[in-house]
């Protein structure tokens, strides 16, 4: 399963990783929005599991979670969305991203099996740091589902090897100490951090938090293996609701186009 993920980081350009919240604005709308991400040129899809208490998220994703839960989105719905996505897009990696409680409430084995069953390639759990890895990581790895680790500006050289132990898929560099959807970090600090991380791992390094414009995406694409965009897409869904898909596609295409030429310009 992880093969799908490793082969989606092209050698000659950065991968575009896009995030949307599952079930926003309703479970019925997510399929079309996911298709729009792929059509727009996303290489990897992160599907956010809404949570009542998204402590690491800014207002845009908080509101998306509220919209989704208010529409009645359940964990079963989310795995159905994943399964249907996998049928339509056999080659595009799908990553579930969310918080510990919805992922572990039925037990980590249940969750790992559901991921395999639905064709989910990897999981990012925001509030399970490496110290608590056994709560989820063992079960996922046993089923060959990648456990994607986060590194942040507060991750120092001493801690990095710990984070990298048992990491798979790619390494997600959260470029700002803060919540999602706020300012982007300075390019110089991103370059420095990516260099530091790449010295410690062979995994691709994707950079996210605060990326909004094609120019920002291109800047990151010049130095990192992947660019992650989340809140900006979630805001488009927030603005256009049920009619969001074409707007999402156009926006993602603008990012994808910029990334494709970034290393030539």
């Amino acid at each position: 399963m992880t093969d799908r993920l490793s082969s989606s980081f092209p050698a000659d350009r950065a991968a575009l990783v896009t995030f949307v919240t599952a079930g926003d604005p309703t479970p019925a709308d997510t399929g079309a929005i996911l298709d729009a991400l792929v059509e727009g040129g996303a290489d990897i899809i992160e599907l956010g599991m809404p949570f009542t208490d998204p402590m690491a998220d800014g207002p845009s994703i908080q509101e998306a979670d509220i919209r989704s839960l208010a529409a009645g989105t359940t964990t079963a719905n989310i795995f159905n969305m994943a399964r249907e996505f996998r049928q339509r897009h056999p080659d595009t990696p799908l990553v579930l991203m969310g918080y510990a409680n919805p992922m572990t409430i039925r037990g980590s084995e249940w969750f790992a099996n559901a991921c395999v069953d639905a064709g989910v390639d990897a999981v990012i759990c925001v509030d399970i740091p490496v110290e608590e890895d056994e709560s989820l990581g063992d079960a996922l790895r046993a089923k060959d589902v990648a456990v994607i680790r986060l590194a942040t500006p507060t991750t120092d050289a001493e801690r990095l090897p710990q984070i990298l132990s048992n990491a798979s898929g790619f390494l997600y560099y959260v470029s700002v100490a803060g919540i999602t959807g706020q300012q982007q970090a300075a390019q110089a600090s991103i370059e420095e951090a990516v260099a530091r991380l790449k010295a410690g791992t062979d995994l691709p390094v994707a950079v996210g938090f605060g990326v909004r414009t094609p120019e920002q995406a291109a800047d990151i694409a010049r130095v990192a293996d992947g660019v992650v965009v989340g809140s900006a897409i979630v805001e488009i869904v927030g603005e256009y609701g049920k009619d969001a898909a074409p707007h999402v596609r156009d926006y993602v295409k603008s990012l994808s186009d910029a990334i494709r030429v970034a290393r030539h310009g």
């Binding site: 949570f51 709560s135 507060t154 991750t155």
Partner: protein, 411 residues
């Protein structure tokens, strides 16, 4: 859980911050280095006699400790009127409502601000429900000249107006939080969001014995002054230990502070009282009685949640108990069987509130009113020569508007 009982109930958590299967450090990676550093600095402070000396000095001369241990003779007599022949235990209170700022919360705030200054932090944040922890935090920040920002659910801002004003008088910035039900849980989410964005200069003073390790441990340790004093005072006054301890539980800090020093006294029973709100079959805040294990706010513990792990809203008339979780040590103490847990409804708490006003001339906060309701229930079942000791962890000045409204009275 464990087949073999542990030798001591007082040696938790383990070095990873786990109380059995509960506790832990479930935080975003950005915060991990920070809480590891906090743990290191806390260990250093524990080993430093100067830290303890300063803590004790402030508790004595600023907070007003030790708080009295009081035999509530009049309440005891009142309860005995309805008790069967020979029944009606002596009711005693640990008077932490007499502390500076009016609740036990200040004990913990004094400890944490000393830690914050030790760590060189220059800005303080906190969450608050009833406003007592917010007031206590604003108080120590004023005392030590540190700027502070308090996150408070908008619902609580409305029902705890006196405390809102007190915080402002003390120089705090109060940020009303409108997400979710706009109560304590949401205030905590917002505090965590602020913290993750200001890791370098900011110290988060958590108000209850919950959150990521080492918070449950250090809050418990700072609050244990309650139980240590009570144990010594009771031995001194009666030559014996109490038969039962009772405390109200929001996150569980006043309860663990009273219980912990007694945990290895096998003859002392303990009873934690959760808020049953409108009733355990309706809206309530009793996570042990009506919830299950889950992960929220940095720790694994009992939570009110649905089958998908979405957190459900708590309800209690008492803002300080209106939280869908509980400190992890209580989850462990429940599963280990050492402490019993029960609950009291809004109505029972209101009745107990009025009973204490009339019998003892003490206006309690709505939080300990839940414990008092349970004390009345338990005392009638216990022998007259037995002793039941409850933590009177807060005074009721902040609650008079809420109580007036509940009783249909205009102030």
């Amino acid at each position: 859980m464990n087949d073999t009982p542990p030798n001591s109930f007082r040696n938790m958590p383990d070095d990873r911050g786990h109380f059995g299967e509960f506790g832990g450090r479930y935080v975003a990676e950005t915060l991990m280095p920070l809480i590891l550093d906090l743990e290191k600095q806390y260990r250093a402070a524990q080993a430093d006699p100067a830290f303890e000396e300063e803590f004790n000095d402030l508790l004595q001369n600023y907070v007003g400790r030790p708080s009295p241990l009081y035999y509530a003779e009049s309440l005891t007599e009142e309860v005995r009127k309805d008790a069967p022949e020979g029944k009606g235990a002596q009711i005693w209170f640990k008077r932490d409502e007499l502390n500076h700022t009016g609740a036990h919360k200040i004990n913990n705030c004094v400890g944490q601000i000393l830690l914050a200054m030790r760590m060189g932090k220059t800005r303080i944040i906190a969450e608050t429900g009833a406003g007592q922890h917010g007031v206590a935090t604003a108080t120590v920040c004023a005392r030590f000249g540190l700027p502070c920002t308090i996150f408070m659910g908008a619902t609580d801002v409305a029902r705890q107006k006196p405390n809102l004003f007190r915080m402002k008088l003390l120089g705090a910035e109060v940020v009303p939080v409108t997400s979710g039900a706009a109560t304590l849980k949401d205030a905590m989410n917002e505090a965590l969001r602020d913290w993750v964005a200001n890791v370098h200069d900011t110290f988060y003073i958590i108000g209850t014995a919950a959150g990521p390790h080492p918070y449950p441990e250090l809050v418990r340790d700072f609050q244990s002054v309650i139980g240590k004093e009570a144990r010594a005072q009771m031995l001194d006054r009666t030559g014996r230990l109490p038969d039962m301890l009772v405390a109200a539980i929001g996150g569980g800090s006043n309860a663990i502070g009273l219980f912990h020093p007694f945990l290895d006294d096998p003859d002392v029973k303990m009873l934690g009282i959760e808020a049953a709100g409108h009733g355990l079959d309706k809206e309530h805040a009793a996570s042990l009685a009506g919830g299950g294990p889950g992960i929220l706010h940095g720790n694994k513990t009992y939570l009110l949640q649905d089958e998908d792990g979405q957190i459900t809203e708590a309800h209690s008339i008492s803002a300080g108990l209106d939280y869908p979780g509980i400190g992890p040590e209580h989850s462990w103490l429940k599963e280990s069987g050492r402490v019993d847990y029960d609950s009291a409804t809004d109505t029972e708490a209101l009745d107990a509130f009025q009973l204490l006003c009339r019998t003892e001339g003490i206006i309690p906060a709505l939080e300990p009113s839940h414990a008092i309701a349970a004390v009345v229930r338990e005392a009638v079942k216990m022998d007259r020569d037995q002793i039941i000791l409850a933590n009177l962890c807060g005074r009721g000045d902040k609650d008079i508007f809420t109580v007036a409204e509940a009783l249909g009275t205009e102030i």
